[in-house]
Subunit: 264 residues, 2 copies
Amino acid sequence: MTRQLLAKTPRDVRALIRAGRWRGVTSGVTPGYVQANLAILPQDLAFDFLLFCQRNPKPCPLLEVVEAGGAEPALTAPGADLRTDVPAYRVYQQGVLTGEVDSLTSLWRDDLVSFLLGCSFSFEAAMSQAGIPLRHQEMGCNVPMYITSVATVPAGVFSGPLVVSMRPIPREQIVRAVQVTSRFPATHGAPVHIGHPEALGIRNLARPDFGDPVEIREGEEPVFWACGVTPQAVALSCKPSLMITHAPGHMFITDQRDADYAVL
Amino acid sequence: MTRQLLAKTPRDVRALIRAGRWRGVTSGVTPGYVQANLAILPQDLAFDFLLFCQRNPKPCPLLEVVEAGGAEPALTAPGADLRTDVPAYRVYQQGVLTGEVDSLTSLWRDDLVSFLLGCSFSFEAAMSQAGIPLRHQEMGCNVPMYITSVATVPAGVFSGPLVVSMRPIPREQIVRAVQVTSRFPATHGAPVHIGHPEALGIRNLARPDFGDPVEIREGEEPVFWACGVTPQAVALSCKPSLMITHAPGHMFITDQRDADYAVL
């Protein structure tokens, strides 16, 4: 993260991005504010995708839906523009990645519906504050993610396997990790499984499907959380004519605070 | 409640209803199981209504959506049929109540989408178990409900005021009432306001818009929860060609337990 971003508000950072003055990875930017996964789909798929999210709230915790014709997430970031305020976008046509762009202005259509979904940054911040180690951060790599044998609940044209992220947790801190992440249902919430990768159909923790492998130390158990890659993978599997997402790690920064979404 | 219902499972009760052998009010039936508000709308309104629920989770806590072409809520009550398993239905055409029926078989259309929403029975059971008095139950009347000056978050064609229910709570039990109901976000969750009806635009607690007035005793404060009448009122205000709901108090009984929806 460059020095220019220190102590900036979400609105300031979005203005920098919109002006083309910054295009970095958003991890660690504007700590305490909720960052979101972005998925944009044509209107004819919007009901099915919204219902898919309703049925699968752990992998698909919806923060806001912007209806066709609009690009301003008025509830979570008033004044923002989803076409210009994300540092990097990925464009998929017929389910195939066809490009990475830094603005959607020339691609935009009036039939596009935008979905903002919670991401793991919020609960990882809460885990850090509770003194629970985050191995992938210690190692400076991406969290390991695995395609499981657990099916999501289908909705219309959308179906597919649950994708999970894994964090090794010392056994004496697992209860606390469950408690801390349970407070954030809008950002994946409580773990989906503790301890047995094979129960999720994961054969080899050293070979994640996405991200990087991390070390599991003596006295630690692998703990699995539903992952925001799930909705993207599921949406792409039906090969929509057009789908646009944020580029990995380049999230949309909302004006909402993590604390706004904490339960109890 | 008749003796034939004692110790019955939700499935048993639904079978009695389907066979035309029981058509009563469901309050107190199958304690511990989640009962649901029902709203059925044509498919052309389904995206907007689903989005309205997503944006207003306190008055509109979605339990399940059954897509067009189906009538089985496979997630919350496998094997049930929403056309026959509710003790009484109300039919609205162009926003006007045109009849009360005990089966939808002859009215059913393949373009109807069914929405099941959490109701207050779940959190009232939790309040009772915590020793918090429920005045309307003590008085044997309906909970008082009020149309507020607080707007819901609009979605597409749907907008309108928040409707709340009110329960008088002894001051020393208000914190506990907040804690207990916070555990049930899928059934309206925590209160929306404590103590000042005028802050919600309510002028006279003795004259509720729906239900019955209840006594507020010395040392008690009125506490307000978002109410499931909200989505029905909002849906009707746009005068849909057809809308079907459960008749008041005649809820759909799911196979889910209240405890399944408790957080922490």
